[in-house]
Amino acid sequence: MVPIEHVLIFNAIMFCIGMYGVMARRNGVLVLMAIELMLNAVAINLVAFSSRIDPVGGSGIVFAIFVITIAAAELGLGLAIVLRVYRMRTSVNVDEVDFMRW
């Protein structure tokens, strides 16, 4: 059985990779993909807590289901916004989307 520390460190690495992607990428679709990576790392963390600390409660797994639900909703909405921006600007680079700045 893998100790929980190793699972958590694995997810910390995955989360930080996603964080780097969010900060470094210019393409809006790639930023959304990196956000998916971060949400996935958090969901695995919740499942690891569920299986190692509270093996019969199941709260962690239910939380992971909610994370997956919200991630799907967020991705659909985010891609709709990216498509809209692309129609207005013919570009999906997040640093060029500055028309809401005052």
């Binding site: 460190i9 930080c16 210019r26």
Partner: protein, 200 residues
């Protein structure tokens, strides 16, 4: 080291390599395909953490729908010029990510998880404890469904409302520009009324 642990470490290493590929590769299509690989491997990690229902959900939701959605979005937003995928400040982003990683690993290593598990087990009431000893070690879809519709019924309903709002909102955002474009394109042309008059 037993076989399960060896498989877990192999899958974890493959997932990390695939995730790294998502954020460093120069082609957006490779990035999307590597993301699908990383998400499928995440399903395998769920399986190794003994939650088979979640593994199924992961493969269905991410492997089935999210990957199609991402690939469609990439096809619909092809940039004109040769794209520069990273900001000029990406070394700063890498530094921030590495610092966060250091903090997280420090927090994980210095916390005593065994004590936490023992505290959690001892804080449970006697009724819960007897339920725990009677319950099976693995949580199947049946137990999860019961938990979802009893203990977590209110969050479940809120999640359904969130999904509905996201569906309607994304439809509105994606449709509105089409309508305005259609109007602006139709303006210089003669309208259907004048055409009808000309026909008369």
């Amino acid at each position: 080291m037993d076989l399960g642990a060896a498989v877990f470490y192999a899958v974890a290493a493959a997932t990390i390599v695939a995730s790294l590929g998502v954020v460093v590769t120069r082609s957006v299509v490779y990035s999307a395909l590597l993301l699908i690989l990383a998400l499928a491997l995440t399903g395998l990690v769920y399986l190794l953490l003994l939650s088979d229902f979640l593994a199924l959900v992961q493969i269905l939701v991410y492997g089935g729908t999210v990957s199609i959605l991402l690939l469609f979005a990439l096809m619909l937003t092809r940039p004109r010029e040769s794209p520069v995928l990273n900001h000029s400040g990406w070394p700063l982003a890498a530094l921030g990510a590495v610092l966060t990683l250091g903090t997280l690993v420090f927090a994980v290593v210095t916390t005593s998880w065994g004590d936490l598990a023992r505290t959690f087990a001892s804080s449970a009431s006697t009724a819960e404890r007897t339920a725990r000893s009677a319950a099976p070690a693995r949580l199947g879809p049946e137990e999860l469904g019961t938990a979802l519709f009893t203990t977590w019924a209110v969050p479940f309903e809120i999640a359904s409302v969130v999904l509905l709002v996201a569906l309607v909102g994304s439809l509105l955002v994606a449709r509105a520009s089409e309508d305005s474009e259609a109007v602006s394109e139709a303006e210089p042309l003669p309208g259907p009324q004048s055409q009808a008059e000309a026909g008369a």
